[in-house]
């Protein structure tokens, strides 16, 4: 592990949208440097071969090399001010080997033939040293060498080619729109990431990948000073595996929902959403406080994505199930015996949940994972029954899989790759059903939109989720906005209370840009697709308090 060059974004006053400034790593550079093409593939292959040969000559039975260039541009504004423009670049190589059945990893930013050779030798030395304490020799699932291949996120507008001034203008116009419509404060941000990753392994793979991700977001706050009350509404955008074209705001990608709500599929109108957010934040100041009790919940994809992430994505990570994360993130209720039984009802018959790193526009989208495995889609929950986990090469044998699922990831060249969550998505309902039709069937319910407060236990049984917007449903109609809403449930009970899922026309991606796991902690970005879904009889609490 290398100590990172942290860039501290102090004094940003981000409020509820507290920016993970500590996640911004790398060296500050000019915006122009982000368009520098970096090393040619031929150079990277020659350097990778030095590492492969050096490790082999030291006795390694397997070696992989990741030459990585990680570029970030993060923009921060509030009201009329630009708070920060951070352009960073991080470049180096990480080398992982197996020697005597034990992993060894070393990384260096000295990307010279000599630096790489020494780094490979260190990785082997570490593996040898650790092998003394090894109790479980590594068993790798086989991988067919890919040869020399290249892949890039299919974007039409490279965010780094858009002038910074244009991006700042967009954010300031978002802020102006919110302020003109009643906001007291507004923060808006634009996060753009480009991972240029070259992977080579002793299996005969030389894989060059160029990956883009983007996340435009804001937080609008309305204050009623005389009553000493404030409420916020965050953006309904999703972080996406797309280029700047996500900000085109195409009408064809809008979904018109109940209560005049607009949500956005693969194209986002940030200014339009900011106008709506300002109105919503003001409306929240006078919304009715919820009466606690059992409600049927109608959950929008912008909200349900996080519930899927926490209650399905994390518990089905095989390293958690096995106990590797016991001291930090925790273990899992979805133990191997439940999976082996073959009839563990995770959810109702309607619940079909798939994992993939292949979905268009998703954050997980890539051709190969960080150990050179071709990415694919597989079932986690089929007709409500638990059928599989998320496993990488050194775990596949534990669940009798012939090959890795292709979900290994490292957040930097100097982080060791490990099992990370792929996209995990709920399949849409097969029957034609719109959100409006779904709401018509609900007598006493709440329609919840957007990502709010979220908390779940270390084995993923008990959770509590909030949201951005809550609408009361009475006798099939939305009758007004609610506040102080959070629902509590148990994962298995919750998914078994799933009674209806809207069809594919309502399907869209939710995403999380900075998901944390591991010690030292690493981040990853992952999407979750779903259509609006109904869950019956869920316990809702009132979170209002007086201090």
């Amino acid at each position: 592990m290398k100590r990172r060059d942290f860039i501290h974004l102090s004094g940003l006053g981000m409020g509820a949208l507290m920016t993970p400034g500590f996640l911004l790593t790398g060296n500050p550079v000019s915006a122009a440097q982000l368009l520098n093409p970096g090393l040619e593939n031929a150079e990277k292959k020659a350097l990778a071969d030095i590492a492969l040969n050096a490790a082999k000559s030291q006795g390694a039975t397997y070696t992989d090399v990741r030459i990585g260039r990680y570029l970030n541009q993060f923009l921060f504004t509030r009201e009329k001010n630009v708070q920060n423009i951070a352009n960073t670049e991080s470049f180096g190589v990480g080398i992982r080997v197996i020697e005597e059945g034990t992993w060894g990893f070393s990384a260096t930013n000295d990307v010279s033939p000599d630096g790489i050779k020494k780094c490979a030798e260190t990785a082997v030395a570490i593996a040898k040293a650790n092998s003394i304490m090894q109790k479980e020799p590594v068993v790798l699932a086989p991988v067919q060498g890919a040869g020399e291949v290249s892949w890039e996120t299919p974007i039409s507008k490279n965010p780094f080619e858009i002038p910074v001034a244009e991006k700042i203008d967009l954010l300031l116009s978002v802020n102006a729109a919110a302020m003109e419509n009643g906001a007291t404060f507004v923060n808006s941000n634009l996060f753009m990431v480009n991972e240029q990753k070259y992977f080579a392994s002793s299996d005969g793979s030389y894989i060059d990948q160029n990956i883009h991700r983007i996340w435009p977001t804001f937080n609008v706050t309305a204050v009623n000073q005389s009553e000493g009350k404030f409420r916020s509404r965050q953006a309904l955008s999703a972080p996406m595996g797309m280029g700047y074209e996500y900000l085109d705001g195409l009408a064809s990608e809008k979904i018109e929902g109940p209560a005049g709500l607009i949500s956005y599929r693969n194209s986002y109108d940030m200014v339009e959403d900011a106008v709506a957010a300002a109105k919503h934040a003001k409306e929240k100041l006078t919304a009715k406080s919820v009466t606690p009790g059992k409600y049927d919940l109608v959950l929008d994809p912008d909200h349900l994505g996080l519930t899927i992430h926490e209650s399905v994505g994390h518990p089905l990570e095989l390293d958690r199930v096995l106990g590797y994360e016991a001291n930090y993130a925790g273990t899992s209720f979805a133990t191997l015996d439940k999976w082996k039984a073959g009839d563990f009802k995770y959810g109702s018959d309607l619940v079909n949940i798939v994992a993939d790193k292949t979905q268009a526009n998703s954050l997980g989208l890539t051709a190969y994972d960080d150990e050179g495995v071709k990415c694919k889609e597989w079932d986690l929950i089929r007709d409500g029954v638990l059928v599989n986990y998320q496993a990488i090469r050194d775990q596949a044998n534990i669940i009798n899989e012939a090959e890795s699922h292709g979900c290994c990831y490292a957040d930097s060249w100097d982080s060791v790759q490990f099992q990370r969550m792929p996209n995990v998505s709920l399949k849409p309902g097969k029957d034609k059903l719109s959100v409006q039709e779904m709401i018509k069937g609900v007598d006493k319910g709440i329609y919840i939109v957007g990502r709010g407060s979220y908390s779940i236990d270390q084995q993923r049984y008990n959770f509590q989720f909030g949201g951005q917007l809550f609408y009361e449903i009475k006798d099939g109609e939305i009758v007004g906005m609610l506040e102080d809403v959070a629902y509590q449930s148990n994962t298995q009970e919750f998914w078994n209370s799933c009674v209806q899922i809207c069809d594919k026309d309502d399907y869209k991606l939710f995403g999380t840009f900075f998901d944390g796991k591991g010690q030292p902690s690493q981040v990853s970005a992952v999407s979750h697709g779903s259509s609006t879904t109904r869950f019956n009889g869920v316990n809702v609490i009132n979170t209002g308090r007086q201090i």
């Binding site: 290398k2 100590r3 060059d5 860039i7 501290h8 102090s10 004094g11 006053g13 409020g15 060296n27 500050p28 550079v29 000019s30 001010n81 630009v82 708070q83 423009i85 992993w103 990893f105 930013n109 570490i126 040293a129 650790n130 304490m133 090894q134 007291t184 404060f185 000073q225 009553e227 000493g228 009350k229 404030f230 590797y324 016991a326 001291n327 925790g330 273990t331 209720f333 133990t335 407060s453 979220y454 908390s455 779940i456 236990d457 270390q458 084995q459 049984y461 008990n462 509590q464 909030g466 102080d484 959070a486 010690q519 030292p520 316990n539 979170t543 209002g544 308090r545 007086q546 201090i547």
Partner: protein
Amino acid sequence: MAMLSKEEAKQIIDKVLSYAKADETEVSISGGRTGNIRYARNTVNTSGESNTITVAVNSVYGKKSGVATGNELDEAALKRIVEKSEEIARLAPENPEYMPMLGPQDYPETKNFSQKTADIDPSYRAKAAMDSIEVSNSGNLTAAGYLEDFAGFSAMGNSKGMFGYNQSSSVDFSVTVRTADGTGSGYAIRDYNDIGLLNAKTVTEISAQKAQASVNAQAIEPGKYTVILEPTAANDLLRLLAFNMDARSADEGRSFLSKRGGGTRLGEKLFDERVNIYSDPMHPDLPGRPWNNEGLPSTKTTWVENGAVKNMYYSRYWADQKGVDPVGRPTGIIFEGGNESLADMIRKTQRGVLVTRFWYIRAVDPQTLLYTGLTRDGTFYIEDGQIKFPVKNFRFNESPVIMLNNIEAMGTPQRAGGNLIPPMKIRDFTFTSLSDAV
């Protein structure tokens, strides 16, 4: 180790400043060694160590600033960093909230460095892990733990004559021990500046004892309970209170410290009168950094006195706007306790719950500082002055503001998560549901 002396650091900073052409220039150099070891399932997974040194230059033209960094100390490399930061600054937009750089400051000589921590090597970490694993091996238990240590320095100086130098070290160790059948789980965590204070075996024994004692937890009804919070649990909530004492948010009307009608609740009595919270960079058990996040000298500061809000954080910009002195965020807080031991608190409790730690704490309502989260790794039912049996974990929905109005008793403050926090007995703590998690 990448450790520069005060003189060496000053020499490099002066050299960098001599290359600078901007209106104002600030240079910071930091370096040191960090190492870690991680284990799970009673075997080591990963370990590593690295030495780094980083030079960061902040150049300012008017109200436009730019930062560049580098890892090499030769003249050519240092000149490149200055040129790069000046180039970035010239292209940057104006920051209307920019505050001019500080002149010379009088920094305290804090004692936040331990040579013992600086002297450890990979074999020390391996031994600590093996000591820990041995405890669980001998008891049909499974240990997962993580040790991370750092020893290094930081120095800063600017074109207005400010200069500061500090050596620091830190050690963080945590271990979760679970019974082999997964029905019991315990946890213990320690943080120090001096690794000489860490005994991985003893800490693991505490975790193992909790794991064994928490086997086959029983369900009791959620509701309002008297709780006894061990310092780790109390810190989990109190650090959130300390984090939210920002004056600007309060003035803007979006904080629990905002006053109805405008302004802040500075001076108001918001908590039980036994609540006294301060920070002191010279405290021997919690030595801080000599300077705060804006480069001002760290000083002893009272945040809450006899239950009343005495100070809030004022950034230099916000202090200037409000015509007051800036007040920086402290490295850690010290919560004055009482003189009741944990054992006494349990003995004097008719019916209550003992909490080892909380987990997955998230803000629910920033207006009231309401948080939710769960108990984890050792939760026990107390009746008639005795621990009766382990209980299933609870979800709570509680505000530290409400909690600090419901104090029954407090003990001696102990170091927990970078703060000094006492064990606390609190009445009417709100548990809203049960969790089956172990």
